[in-house]
């Protein structure tokens, strides 16, 4: 069984390892095993304007998405978990429902809808679309953490005369911080890797990194895409590491 599990992880991680090692090749073409060692494909990444421009768009978009998703998701998660809300379960299902829709359908529908509203292909449209699909992650992580915290703390504060704002700020917020943080990171990671929605909103100013990488790959096949992927991976690993430190990894299981 152990052998099987090891083989499984070779299958799972092998392609990623290959891409990372290719990004350091000295050759002008994709070669595995890589020959020599050089940073030149990383240099190419930072010199090739479409890559670096779209990388900046992606990072800005990821941060904006995370902030908006938290602003919308946290209050809703708190209210639905522990407010006097009728049909709380149904509402929760509704808040999580974007998770189950094919992303390409959401992107397609939103493109025409937002164009009709006059937003068209713009950063704002991208932000709205990405927020729709990352909101469920924030709601789920925050609700998960909040559910595990006894209501006694808040009730004690209420009995002692704290008002809602004070309870939220001094009691609830410090306790749900790990959930908010994890939710934000999820939202960022979902946004930064999204392709099925982003490609609908592609233009010179709004192309995200995955969109540029895809169109690059459709025409040429060189190690610069490997370098771009590796940079994205490093960003993700740093995020994962932070979440693990603060929150524990079990909470990240999608079906938990």
């Amino acid at each position: 069984m152990l052998i099987y599990v090891v083989l499984f992880f070779i299958f799972l991680l092998g392609p990623i390892f290959i891409v990372v090692s290719i990004s350091f090749t000295e050759t002008e073409f994709v070669a595995f095993p890589p020959q020599g060692f050089s940073w030149k494909w990383y240099q190419r990444f930072f010199e090739y304007e479409p890559f670096i421009d779209s990388f900046i768009v992606s990072v800005e978009l990821a941060i904006a998405t995370a902030l908006l998703a938290v602003a919308l998701g946290v209050p809703a998660a708190l209210a639905v978990t522990r407010g006097r809300v009728p049909y709380a379960n149904t509402i929760m299902t509704f808040l999580l429902s974007p998770l189950s829709m094919p992303l390409i359908v959401v992107g397609f529908a939103l493109l025409f809808y937002l164009s009709a509203l006059g937003l068209g292909v713009s950063f704002v449209s991208l932000l709205i679309a990405h927020t729709v699909i990352s909101l469920p992650y924030v709601v789920r992580t925050v609700a998960g953490v909040y559910r595990g915290i006894s209501p006694d703390y808040e009730e004690s504060a209420a009995v002692l005369g704290a008002n809602r704002m004070q309870i939220f700020w001094y009691v609830t917020l410090p306790m749900i911080k790990p959930g908010i943080f994890a939710g934000m990171l999820f939202a960022m990671l979902i946004s930064i890797d999204n392709l099925p929605i982003s490609f609908f909103f592609g233009s010179a100013d709004t192309n995200t990194l995955p969109v540029v990488m895809l169109s690059y790959l459709e025409h040429q096949f060189d190690p610069s895409v490997a370098a771009a992927s590796s940079i994205q991976l490093i960003v993700a690993i740093i995020g994962l590491f932070i979440v693990e430190r603060i929150y524990g990894l079990d909470a990240m299981a999608p079906a938990s």
């Binding site: 290719i22 009730e155 809602r164 994962l240 990894l249």
Partner: protein, 290 residues
């Protein structure tokens, strides 16, 4: 639950944020998620197109009567089901290992499962293209062990697309099954063993049936994801295997027949909603968990 709420009320505490906050978030989702999709469902007719505008029914008729498009709809479902079943077969033993045998290594196993989820789908596809290339690692290996005489064209076929999809989706399956396996009371298995059942029989008669819920959840997650994915097919399938999402992408980028793309996205949506309905049935059967 109701008791708790009532007690809370009697003390004058009704949650830390006003329930109205839900209205704000729900409104956002209604305006930017529900209405656009309904709009897409109803207004396939009105999408801005060229002069040759046709009624929506024309496209649905084309999708469901033209054998070519009917084949694509069937292929989409078959591919998703096939990938999901392969994920169950490959993933189940890993989930079992994670829950029962990994012990203090379980943190590492979970990390290794999640790490690929955070790499971009393009990265993983790129890796497979290198492996499958005509002069790639796999061909070199097969040539070296004399299994083949000439390099085989792995790329750009259904096989490489299926492998790529399984690779992307199998962690979701493992995590879904593992979270249910973890909740199974170990005493049930011990009892079966004490009563004389063999290890294998215990697994078959006790553990496996109890883990069916996890397989169900995993099935729905993986099916939905496989159903909507096109990047893997685009970069590994080589156009031989066509599915609805891939066709939507191509209609959008190449043919620019938006009406047809809208009709196809509605069919895709219908498949997803059907799958969600199954999920709700499954949850109802389990009883709603807080």
């Amino acid at each position: 639950m109701t008791d708790q709420v009532r007690r809370g009320t009697s003390r004058g505490f009704s949650g830390v944020v006003s329930p109205w906050w839900i209205a704000v978030t729900a409104l956002f989702l209604v305006v930017f998620f529900v209405i656009p999709i309904i709009n897409n469902l109803l207004n396939t007719d009105q999408l801005v197109t060229l002069a040759k505008q046709r009624p929506a029914s024309f496209y649905y008729e084309k999708l469901f009567t033209d054998p070519y498009y009917l084949g694509i709809v069937a292929d989409t479902v078959t591919l998703s089901v096939g990938v999901t079943v392969i994920c169950i077969i490959i993933g189940y033993p890993v989930a079992l290992f994670l829950v029962r045998h990994a012990g203090r290594w379980s943190g590492l196993v979970i990390f290794l499962l999640i790490a690929p989820l955070l790499t971009s789908i393009i990265m993983r596809t790129f890796g497979w293209r290198v492996l499958f290339a005509r002069r790639g690692l796999l061909n070199d290996f097969l040539l070296w062990i004399d299994a083949i005489e000439k390099p085989i064209l792995f790329l750009n076929g259904p096989t490489s697309a299926v492998i790529g999809l399984v690779h992307v989706l199998v962690p979701f399956m493992v995590l879904s099954i593992a979270s249910v396996l973890r909740s199974i009371d170990l005493q049930l298995e011990e009892s079966a063993r004490i009563l004389g059942a063999s290890r294998f029989k215990t697994f078959l008669k006790v553990t496996f049936p109890l883990s069916l819920d996890g397989i169900g959840t995993g099935f729905i997650i993986v099916f939905l994801l496989a159903n909507g994915s096109f990047v893997t097919l685009l970069l590994l399938g080589g156009g031989e295997l066509k599915t609805l999402p891939l066709l939507i992408y191509q209609q959008f980028t190449i043919s620019r027949d938006f009406q047809f793309a809208a009709a196809m996205s509605n069919v895709l949506l219908a498949i997803a909603v059907g799958c969600l309905y199954l999920q709700l049935r499954l949850i109802k059967r389990k009883g709603v968990k807080g």
